[in-house]
């Protein structure tokens, strides 16, 4: 069993934990309001990309890891709410709430943690089998 599986699985785990981190930040800021549309919280979403494990990029064979390519801010419309009593309201009495879709974030969270689990299982299975290989002939 090759040691590269550990690299691949750990890259997968760290990518998924970045995703979980951004989901946590989105959920925590779901109810954040702001005085202007520019400063309102915009939800964060990581974009993954495949990365080769060897220098040779044409080397398809030696497995592929994953990395966080960039973290984008959602460009969905910021919702405007009329709350003249709010301390952050602008002169027209509007506050601007974060463009976080809580349902979507929750579903995303389950997906991220499931993939994380898959990576952990993969690593465990490879570890077990590698230990067995070490004990060959004993």
């Amino acid at each position: 069993m090759s040691f590269k599986i550990f690299d691949i699985a750990s890259m997968g785990m760290s990518a998924q934990s970045v995703r979980l981190n951004s989901i946590a930040s989105n959920l925590a800021n779901a109810e954040t309001v702001s005085g202007t549309p520019e400063t309102a919280y915009r939800s964060l979403h990581p974009v993954f990309s495949t990365v080769g494990l060897t220098q040779d990029l044409s080397d398809d064979f030696h497995g592929k890891g994953v990395k966080v390519d960039k973290v984008i801010q959602s460009n969905k419309d910021i919702e405007r709410r009329y709350e003249p009593g709010h301390p952050l309201a602008d002169q027209n009495g509007f506050v601007y709430s974060a463009n976080v879709n809580v349902m979507q974030e929750m579903a995303d969270m389950i997906s991220a943690s499931r993939t994380y689990q898959h990576n952990v299982q993969m690593m465990n299975a490879s570890k077990e089998i590698m230990l067995q290989t070490l004990n060959i002939g004993q």
Partner: protein, 129 residues
């Protein structure tokens, strides 16, 4: 008696299995990467090629030599046909991939067991106990 050939095909099977595990691990790790296409190898195809070489095949002293196990696998690396397409172009089905990964691990363990028994047999013969 040639030591290598008497160990049977299991040593090569282990190598192919561990390479396949690597590929399946890549698929699982990239389950959420946009545009990633899941890949796999045909174990039977490679095994037939490897086995067809026989002991009289020319010695491979450099990984770049034709007939190296890696080259064969490179050639038979295929794309998985997705059951359902994702909008982002990703074709990884985590259930399928983790099923294949487990299956591959089990086959690895089986080959390992056979190899282990062969080594133990040798030990018994050498010690004469």
């Amino acid at each position: 008696m040639d030591l290598n050939s008497s160990l049977g095909i299991h040593a090569q099977a282990l190598e192919i299995r561990s390479k396949r595990a690597e590929i399946l691990a890549s698929n699982l790790a990239n389950a959420d990467t946009p545009g990633f296409k899941a890949r796999d190898i045909d174990f039977k195809e490679i095994m037939t090629q490897v086995h067809g070489q026989g002991p009289e095949h020319m010695a491979v002293t450099n990984p770049k030599h034709f007939g190296h196990i890696d080259d064969m696998m490179d050639a038979s690396l295929k794309y998985r046909v997705a059951l359902q397409h994702n909008l982002d172009g990703n074709t990884v089905d985590t259930q399928v991939e983790s099923g294949k990964f487990t299956e591959n691990n089990l086959h690895y363990a089986a080959s390992l067991r056979f190899l282990d028994m062969k080594v133990k047999n040798r030990n018994t013969v050498i010690k004469g106990e």
